[in-house]
Symmetry: C2
């Protein structure tokens, strides 16, 4: 495979990077919801943990019936089986990254996986 | 494990989320380099692919000797063995996310892994 791949995202409501970048260890999406909008369904996962990072704006997540308010700088791990639904606040849109990875797939990382040249 | 974990990042130069969020499938870091600064070493990985997303500012990456300019909205996959080094531009800092995942660890995702409730 190529030593690297690169793409530039625009102002789309949702951009999925797996196919654009030929990812093999994650799906990554960048999502924008306008004020007052929300993902129109509740979902969970079979095998994948999801990591959400709020890049801009405000909103909330409802996870297994528990509501948590979200603002830029917030990051969450959501367990595969948890039932989740994200929405923007009434007065602000929200931009967030969602990283989907297989639960328990990471072995070593950083100091245990890096090679210094 | 908990159905979800949450943290809020501040204005640190580098924040690592693996331990803060009890991640099991990735390490995620949020990194800020001030104008003129760069990561002071070149590195590669044994087993992990890295996914970089530029959140703000400008800079460059040198990957296996090839320079690519970076600006907000750029996303890259870097293969494990590629030798990489990131830096901010002379006139602008850069803020980027780095996602570290085990190469070839993802099986199904999105429609193949999600369960609608």
């Amino acid at each position: 495979m190529a030593n690297y791949t690169k793409t530039t995202i625009g102002n789309e409501g949702r951009t999925e990077l797996h196919d654009k970048l030929a990812l093999t260890g994650a799906e990554v999406s960048i999502n924008q919801l306008p004020a007052g909008a929300g993902v129109p369904f509740v979902h969970s996962h079979k095998n994948n943990e999801e990591i959400y990072g709020i890049i801009a704006g405000e909103g909330k997540a409802v996870i297994d019936g528990e509501e948590t308010l979200l603002t830029a700088g917030d990051w969450l791990r959501v367990a595969p089986a948890a039932k989740r639904q994200f929405s923007a606040s009434a007065n602000s849109g929200i931009t967030y990254i969602c990283i989907q990875v297989k639960e328990n797939s990471l072995d070593g990382f950083t100091a245990d996986d890096a090679v210094m040249d």
